[in-house]
């Protein structure tokens, strides 16, 4: 009897083994990288209707009003394509957009299209996005030459294009004309300094130190704006990343000279104590909720993207100008922070997906631009379409003039956002720059170290690819 019972019992160990095997197999099946998609996708439904998904990264109220308009325009143009998206932004079910996107690509069920905040070049090198060159060759609007060259380069990796830039909000120098008037300095965009030396001399006119503490600044070198590092490098005749040769040039003489210039500026104009300068004001933001030095009129000049023209209600009159160039540079350059659209690898409807991202990044962005001053990256955008919110703030004539200034400035854009290790590079460079400004290392030592680290990371990424 005892023997019979024992024979029929499942032992605890046996049960655990079976459960473990079942769970392991299930988990492995769920997590294993999927086989590459054939990219043909399921056939359209009987009525020819195709639904494609769009992971919308935007969530502000204005965007929630504009996005449905653009989607509606597209769906009217393409009655057989329906866009499935969540107006609230982010991936369905929540979570970090990038993390969920990569997990979904690995699991074989990505969205058809996605909005990205980081450059497609980075994700393209990672193998996460579908190359769209063949689509672009036959496109109506998004042809290879239809975008500002350097802005489109943010989507390229090793000759292939992995997405489209929708916007290219250019960066420029904003200056507080009220403070200039108080000082009796007549300044216009045309008379604004064109070199760093002139800028520094102008900045000194405003700078006030009391017991070594910065009470008022002219222009504070923007060490925390990492996205603009490539621009400062170009302004001094350098380059941070040479995409054509897949080589970082962080420790070039031009870049070392740029950082030394900033360090000397902090030393001679602002007392040189990096920590005290940091405590004296938030020099890295224009937004009032971040206690911005520029907004609070502690500084007279500030570099940022054109979006702050409507994002912020400045309590003073302002003007914009092009960025001055450094002692080793010869001309101005602008920076830009695009919004990108891309097609994750493994999407089921690449043809329809391309039509959607093409429309959004070209004609659709004109609709967008009427609400938000993110300058279009598409060169075909009308020079006469102006953001209504900007018109409301500064009047139609000045809004149009500002719009054209930012559009034209994109012709001087610097190469940026074009490295597969951009995030790592900018983080590393920021640490290096801060170590120089904080007098922990010399500019040469810090930039040599940063160069070695970033180039090693790049090579590791290339090996992985």
């Amino acid at each position: 009897m005892e023997t019979d019972v024992k024979r029929n019992l499942i032992s605890r160990r046996h049960f655990l083994r079976l459960t473990g095997m079942a769970a392991g197999v299930a988990a492995l099946a769920a997590c294993a990288p999927s086989a590459p998609s054939a990219q043909t996708g399921p056939p359209a439904s009987a009525d020819g209707q195709v639904t494609i998904s769009w992971w919308n990264g935007f969530s502000t109220p204005t965007v929630q009003e504009i996005a449905p308009q653009i989607v509606g325009e597209f769906e009217r143009m393409h009655p057989n394509i329906k866009i499935d998206y969540e107006i609230s932004g982010g991936p369905p079910g929540g979570g970090n957009l990038t993390e969920v996107m990569l997990s979904r690509i690995a699991a074989g069920n990505p969205p058809d299209t996605i909005t990205l905040w980081d450059a497609p070049s980075q994700y393209g090198a990672l193998g996460a996005l579908t190359a769209i060159d063949e689509f672009m060759a036959q496109a109506t609007y998004a042809t290879p030459d239809a975008f500002y060259e350097n802005v489109l380069n943010t989507c390229k990796w090793q000759g292939r294009t992995y997405g489209l830039p929708a916007s290219a909000a250019a960066a420029a120098m904003f200056f507080n004309t009220d403070l200039f008037a108080e000082k009796g300095i007549a300044m216009t965009r045309e008379t604004f300094p064109t070199t760093w030396d002139e800028l520094r001399a102008l900045s000194d006119e405003f700078t006030v130190l009391e017991n070594g503490e910065v009470k008022q600044a002219g222009f504070m070198p923007p060490w925390s704006a990492t996205w603009l590092y490539p621009v400062w490098s170009v302004l001094n005749g350098g380059l941070i990343f040479d995409a054509a040769n897949t080589l970082y040039t962080v420790n070039s003489p031009e870049n070392i000279a740029w950082i030394e210039y900033w360090a000397n500026w902090l030393d001679e104009a602002y007392g040189g104590n990096f920590e005290r300068i940091n405590i004296a004001g938030n020099w890295g933001s224009a937004y009032p909720d971040q206690n911005s030095a520029f907004y609070n009129q502690l500084s007279s000049m500030f570099v940022d993207g054109g979006w702050i023209m409507t994002d912020i209600d400045f309590p003073f009159e302002w003007e914009v100008a092009k960025l001055p160039y450094g002692p080793m540079g010869t001309k101005t350059a602008s920076g830009y922070w695009p919004n990108w659209f891309a097609m994750p690898k493994g999407g089921l409807h690449p043809t329809e997906s391309f039509l959607f991202i093409e429309y959004f990044c070209t004609k659709g962005w004109e609709t967008w631009y009427r609400a938000i001053p993110d300058t279009p990256a598409w060169k075909g955008a009308s020079r006469d379409v102006v953001t209504q919110a900007l018109i409301d703030k500064v009047g139609e004539e000045r809004a149009l003039e500002l719009h054209r200034f930012f559009l034209d400035y994109l012709e001087d854009s610097a190469p940026m956002w074009d490295s597969p290790v951009n995030a790592f590079a900018m983080d590393t460079l920021q640490t290096a720059i801060e170590s120089v400004l904080g007098k922990v290392k010399s500019a040469r030592a810090a930039m040599d170290e940063a160069q070695a680290l970033i180039q090693a990371k790049l090579e590791e990424t290339l090996r992985a690819g």
């Binding site: 019972v5 655990l16 690509i105 925390s224 005290r276 938030n282 680290l453």
Partner: protein, 304 residues
Amino acid sequence: MSRKTRDNLRAYLFVSPWLISLLVFTAYPMLASFYFSMTRYTIVRPPVWIGLENFRVMFTKDDLFWVAVWNTLYYTVVSVPLQMLVALFLATLLNLSTRGIGFYRTAFYLPALVPAVVTTLLWMLILDPRAGLANAALEAVGLPKLGWMYSVAWSKPSLIIIALWTGVGQPMLIFLAGLKNVPQSLLEAAIIDGTNAWQRYWRVIIPLLTPTIFFNLLITLIASFQVFTTAFVATASASGASPAGPLNSMLVYMVHLYRQGFSYFAMGYASAMAVVLFLVLVVLTLILVRSSREWVHYEGASPR
């Protein structure tokens, strides 16, 4: 099928949701981490076996790894004893019989209920070097303003202050439960023996509380090695500050791991870091458990 078999199956059926979730969501990721730690893995592409390369890079090439180790050790060495002492002190106060003690117990525990992100953002406002309450208070008593999160010297103490605020509630509650379990008869016997309050605390209460101290120490130690939310939120929301604090002074281990995995897509390397942390915590736990034989006293246990 016999009744015993049916009973066993039924029992396993009832525990199976927990068991399966343990295997799928805990055991499998842990085992997978061990495998991924030996690979070059960027999430999207299949992992490529590279043996111990990630560990070699970690120990010999990645300077930031050692910065993160140092920052985490600093944080742990200062914050764990501090949290334990403050929690024990508060629990002792809350163990007193006084009017409104229920209110105080609730009030002191409340910070532990507030999400860490909210608490960190609140403390960011308090510690804002330009307009925060902390510097206003320092100025009011004639002391110089501090840089807090913007200062290499003060960024880690800032994290520790926030950790103290958020982390004390849980061990305090467990200490309070431990204090409530101290037998009244032993305290009365000590009084009859002529001890004063201080002697009773050190000679009777603390020895009886050592199992609770051991548990709290273990949990707080592990949590402090895994500190993430406070450091991540603080550095991400400090406008104008570096992504890991000034000169990486707030780059704790888990933030470095997260950046490697999700910002730089080096998931194999991040897994290797996770494995190292796991092994360190296993060793520390074993040491603590081993040492507990010397200083933890269980009521009713036979003397060694």
